[in-house]
């Protein structure tokens, strides 16, 4: 049986761990709040661009290479958004497993796909498996600004335009609620959701004058739109990350509490046993004298 001192030190260390996980949980909650606000303030921007692109795509004859599905898909890109740090439950592992499965299902050789990765965990994962990483970015701040990822987003769009890739998919954790994240795959490029099926949904879009003309505006707008989608996914992913971390840390705190309770029980039993033994010894010693 462990000695009283051993149990005592175990209790102390578990208490300290609990304090840390508790603090991390609260920090994540605060960050989650901020991330949600950020995602909210970003939303109108994408929505507006989307409205305008939609009205051009559905209302006029103008078209653009970024809107058209290519006949032959030679190479597919996967933009995977992971976190830089661990301690967030299945946030990264679930997503990476999903990406691996998708790739194994769809492709036979490494020439058919490329990976663009955000976050240290994902980068290390793909690097270890010698997968073709085209771009990587690590150390994105917790409240990323548009400028932080502008580069990677713009390069991705350029790679699509230059026909390095014929399709680009986004893989990230979509934020459903603080305790639930959903692994999501969306097609970033080509932009195919403007085929008019949603035309009724927007309803009152006015017929615009285009200055100088539709083509020029699409030319400018579509890259912006695609880039902003990447940014949106990143914000969504960040919110999910904090949600996942909060849940993981709250579970860890609960487990630590349970463990402390059990250890306390063991400590008290051991103490009781020691006292009983001592009394026994005294009584035994006294009766030997009689």
């Amino acid at each position: 049986m462990a000695s009283l001192r051993d149990i005592k030190s175990k209790i102390t260390s578990t208490k300290k761990t609990k304090q840390i996980t508790k603090a991390m949980q609260m920090v994540s909650a605060a960050k989650l709040n901020k991330a949600q606000n950020k995602a909210q303030s970003f939303w109108p921007y994408t929505q507006k661009i989307r409205d305008v692109v939609m009205s051009i795509a559905t209302g006029t004859e103008a078209t653009h290479p970024m809107l058209e599905t290519r006949k032959e898909i030679k190479k597919t890109a996967y933009l995977v958004i992971t976190s830089d740090r661990g301690l967030c439950g299945a946030y990264n592992s679930g997503l990476l497993r999903h990406t691996m499965n998708t790739i194994n299902e769809r492709h036979n050789s490494q020439d058919e796909y490329g990976i663009i990765v955000i976050g240290k965990v994902g980068r290390d994962f793909f690097k270890k498996r010698n997968m073709p990483i085209y771009q990587e970015i690590v150390g994105v701040s917790d409240q990323p600004s548009y400028a932080d990822i502008k580069n990677i987003a713009a390069t991705t769009v350029d790679m699509f335009t230059d026909e390095v890739f014929d399709e680009v998919y986004l893989h990230y954790n979509h934020f459903v609620s603080a305790i639930s994240q959903e692994i999501t795959e969306t097609k970033l490029l080509p932009l195919t959701d403007f085929d008019g099926s949603e035309k009724e949904a927007i309803g009152d879009t006015p017929t615009y004058e285009y200055e100088p003309n539709e083509e020029v505006i699409l030319e400018q707008l579509l890259p912006h739109y695609a880039e902003s989608l990447v940014y949106g996914a990143l914000l969504d992913g960040k919110a999910s990350e904090f949600g996942a971390r909060m849940t993981a840390m709250s579970a860890a705190t609960d487990n630590a509490s349970d463990m402390i309770d059990q250890l306390n029980l063991r400590y008290n039993r051991a103490r009781q046993a020691a006292i009983t033994q001592e009394i026994n010894e005294i009584v035994g010693g006294a009766s030997a004298l009689d």
Binding site: V52, T207, Y210
Partner: protein
């Protein structure tokens, strides 16, 4: 006096939201003034100041490209970045201006660095102009 809702929106959030009498921007095809009741219009913008007139007040916003969407009683300006004069980091803009100028001196006319430096210079000049320093 008639007014319209003017919004300046960036991916990092809204920069300006208010009722105003007139908006004047530097569009791709030249200077453009918008009054309430303007025909719906979409146009790309150049890097330059946007003037928003509100009664006797004139607000300046440094807008970095993007585009403008005009509706009957609403003007939306969407840009990757936009700043009010009070939010402009003058020292940083000055440094950026000098850096861009130095690059322009060394870079060749037709390479990417040249165009990038040119854009950076435009943004810096725009910011300095709007901040009034």
């Amino acid at each position: 006096m008639k007014t319209m809702q003017v919004n300046v929106v960036t991916p990092d959030g809204s920069v300006f939201e208010a009722e105003a009498n007139m908006v004047s921007v530097r569009a791709a095809e030249g200077e453009l003034g918008v009054l309430p009741g303007h025909i719906p219009l979409v146009t790309p913008l150049r890097i330059g100041p946007v003037r928003i007139k509100q009664d006797n007040l004139v607000h300046l916003v440094a807008v970095n490209g993007g585009f403008m969407e005009v509706r009957r009683d609403e003007v939306n300006i969407l840009a990757e970045s936009a700043e009010l004069p009070t939010n402009i980091d003058v020292a940083r803009a000055r440094a950026a201006k000098e850096r861009a100028q130095r690059r322009l001196d060394v870079a060749k006319q037709d390479n990417i660095d040249f165009r990038r430096a040119e854009l950076a210079l435009k943004r810096a000049i725009n910011r300095l102009e709007v901040s009034g320093k």
